[in-house]
Amino acid sequence: MRLKQLALGVAAAAMVAGTVAASKAQAEDSIYIPLLTYRTGPFAGSGTPIADGLHDYFTMLNERDGGIGGVKLMVEECETGYNAQKGVECYEGTKGKGAVVYNPYSTGITLQLIPKAPVDKIPILSMGYGLSATAVGEKFPWTFNAPATYWSQMSAIIKYIDANGGIKGKKIGFTYLDVGYGREPIPLLDELSSEMGFSVVKIPVGVKEMQNQSSHWLQVRKERPDWMIMLGWGAMNPTAIKEAAKIKYPMDKFIGVWWSGGNVDVVPAGAGATGYKSANFHGTGADYPALQDIIKHVIDKGKSQAKKETVGNNFYNRGVMNAVVTAEAIRTAQEITGKKVITGEDMRKGLENLNLTAARLKEIGLEGFTNPISVSCKDHAGAHAIYIQQWDGKAWKSVSDWIEPMRDRVRPKLEMAAAEYIKDKPDWQTQTCQ
């Protein structure tokens, strides 16, 4: 009997608390930005610095400028654990609060949200992840993947390899996390390999085997590929780098994508990681005025979960980069519509007309942080160029110029993929550009 009362009491209290929290009205005159982040689970190593970067830049704008255009930003994190199911739950739970844009931070979650975006009229900004084909803006009005897609990145990496000793007749090892994210660029890689005459050895790593890749790298040792490309995330990255060091694979021939180049990924391998390369589309290090402002206004005031040293880490800066694209799109939307508090539909216009010039980057204290991004109705990725960085044991150093992707090869394939995606969706919303 007592137990029943206790259980009922707990349940009742929880119900009341839950409804009270749910009915908490949103503050007047604010722009609500839900962040689908993850600081728990096997992907927390990669997810935490990104979450910090996103959160801290928005907080800095609130602290320093009082928001954007005089409107405060209301930022709320929802923990997804990189789990698509939880991500959708977060989406459904937050979309009613006036969300203007979603940053899903997982290709799996992005794939689930893409069809929902046109219905709910909230754009998705999957910055450098998600479905590559969404760069085709005519077919995907509500999804943006500025500044570059996986496919343009893959073609740029192939270009880099080609420029460093030629690629014809070479054997490329491709190790990837065996989920939607990792498999995404395979169609392009397959086509490029037959067009450019190189062979590909695919080594998928399941989520369960992420931290135990000895058999995968045994295969690498057997196959002896000339170059290795890695599409890893979370705990897969440091494990792969450690295993590569163990079998003495030449590190300067091992290139990770931009999601496989975090400081957390290389540090555990110690000196063995020196020479490892990864793609990137923004600067590392904290020598930017905007990042110093974050330290001054947010971290020193104890408003962040991040430690001062992590500012400038690759993934922290990735989060900042994402926040910058979001914030600049909000600003653009405010300029276009003349409204201060914008809606999801205004945000879509803002993202589509985003023009992040070198001058504007300097103005916001991020000179040279990234290549200028100009999104258009046709092209929802915008910039595309990437560079290759190398770990010198202490920090990332750029070892290449900005590499343009093979636009002529990638764009038609993107268009084909986009057409394929909407083929059996008769009510799919498209748009016409000019």
């Binding site: 600081r39 199911q85 799996g108 794939l111 929902k116």
Partner: protein, 355 residues
């Protein structure tokens, strides 16, 4: 006082054997159904429908599926996630081949494919018992996960390797896909779940259920009184997998709208197993109570903390609280919520004048 059966005389065997022999229970269940069908869809907002009602019903059905196998037939299974996946992938393939076929029929049909797979993986249960059977079903879980990830035909060669749910309409109302409203999807889920629960409640009271329970309690004795182990265990596996398969198909088509292999991984099997254990082994009501508890507790915790504490901490707290509560319930009431409800009912019959 309210819950007293004095004066309710059973004059026929039929009345005595009814599913709800007490009139208050019968009225209660009709009121509950009326509330679920008539009030909930029109008053609850999208968040409630999408994040609480639909998943609770779907997990409730999956828990019934596992409960038929584990609670009634006594065969421990860790393959629930895989069987749910079978249903989901079968549903995708069926609706690709027959786009004009009514999607509700497709969902119900897709359960049969899960049943076939469950039948095949149930074959070893004749020779393997207890923990060893659990390990054998674990193998099925891993095999199915592997198949979902590797066989591109299953996910229609999508680049992402994920199931993308197409829009399907009945009478011009979108039932699946992004255009389907939460209300429509909720009503379809509710309809299927209520219908299948009704079937299950009759199954467990009939010949199947009784032979399952006999096998569960002592298989040698069951064999001696003439119950064939082969057919009993295999029907348990097939019917259980059918329920799991339908739940999986609904999970993808009527709730999530898309799914990857990870949606059907081993954690998913554990989740359903916890629901069954917490809810009460061998109880249909318990399946729903367990599903509601395990699914909604983290959401409630998150809701009650709101923005006061950051999201990751709430997640950690939710993990700890759910874990602690599972242990608490297992110690205090190992028969789960169903037994608690039964005790409460017995007390209520005497309330407010207990002796």
């Amino acid at each position: 006082m309210l819950y007293r059966e004095t004066g309710q005389f059973k004059t026929t065997y039929r009345a005595d054997q009814a599913v709800f022999p007490i009139r208050q229970d019968l009225i209660g269940i009709w009121l509950m159904l009326a509330f679920l069908f008539l009030v909930v869809p029109f008053t609850f907002n999208d968040f409630w429908l999408n994040s609480i009602m639909i998943p609770t019903l779907i997990f409730g059905l999956a828990a019934i599926g596992l409960n038929l196998l584990t609670g009634y037939a006594g065969q421990l299974s860790l393959g629930t996630g895989g069987f749910m996946g079978c249903g989901a992938y079968a549903c995708l393939k069926l609706t690709t081949f027959f786009p004009d076929l009514n999607i509700i029929i497709v969902i119900l049909l897709s359960g049969f494919f899960a049943a076939i797979v469950g039948f095949i993986f149930g074959l070893p249960s004749l020779r393997i018992k207890g923990f060893y059977l659990a390990v054998a079903t674990l193998a099925s879980q891993f095999f199915l996960e592997w198949a979902f990830g590797r066989i591109a035909w299953l996910y229609n060669y999508a680049d992402s390797g994920a199931i993308e749910v197409p829009t399907r309409r009945i009478l011009d109302i979108a039932i699946t896909g992004p255009n389907a409203t939460a209300m429509t999807r909720y009503l379809v889920v509710l309809f299927i779940v209520v219908a299948l629960t009704w079937v299950a409640s009759n199954l467990v009271r009939g010949r199947f259920g009784r032979s399952w329970m006999a096998v569960r309690d002592m298989d040698i004795a069951a064999e001696l009184i003439g119950i064939r182990l082969l057919s009993t265990k295999l029907t348990a596996f097939s019917i259980s997998s059918y329920y799991c398969g339908v739940a999986g198909a609904m999970m993808v088509f009527l709730w999530l709208g898309a799914a990857e292999v990870e949606s059907f991984d081993i954690n998913h099997s554990f989740l359903v197993l916890f629901m069954v254990i917490i809810g009460g082994l061998g109880s249909l009501l318990g399946s729903f109570l367990g599903a509601a508890f395990i699914w909604n507790l983290p959401i409630l915790l998150r809701g009650s903390f709101g923005q006061a504490i950051d999201a990751a901490t709430v997640e950690h707290i939710a993990f700890m609280v759910v874990g602690a509560l599972i242990i608490f319930f297992l110690i205090v009431e190992p028969h789960g919520f169903a037994r608690l409800w039964q005790i409460a009912k017995e007390k209520l019959r005497l309330w407010p004048f207990p002796y």
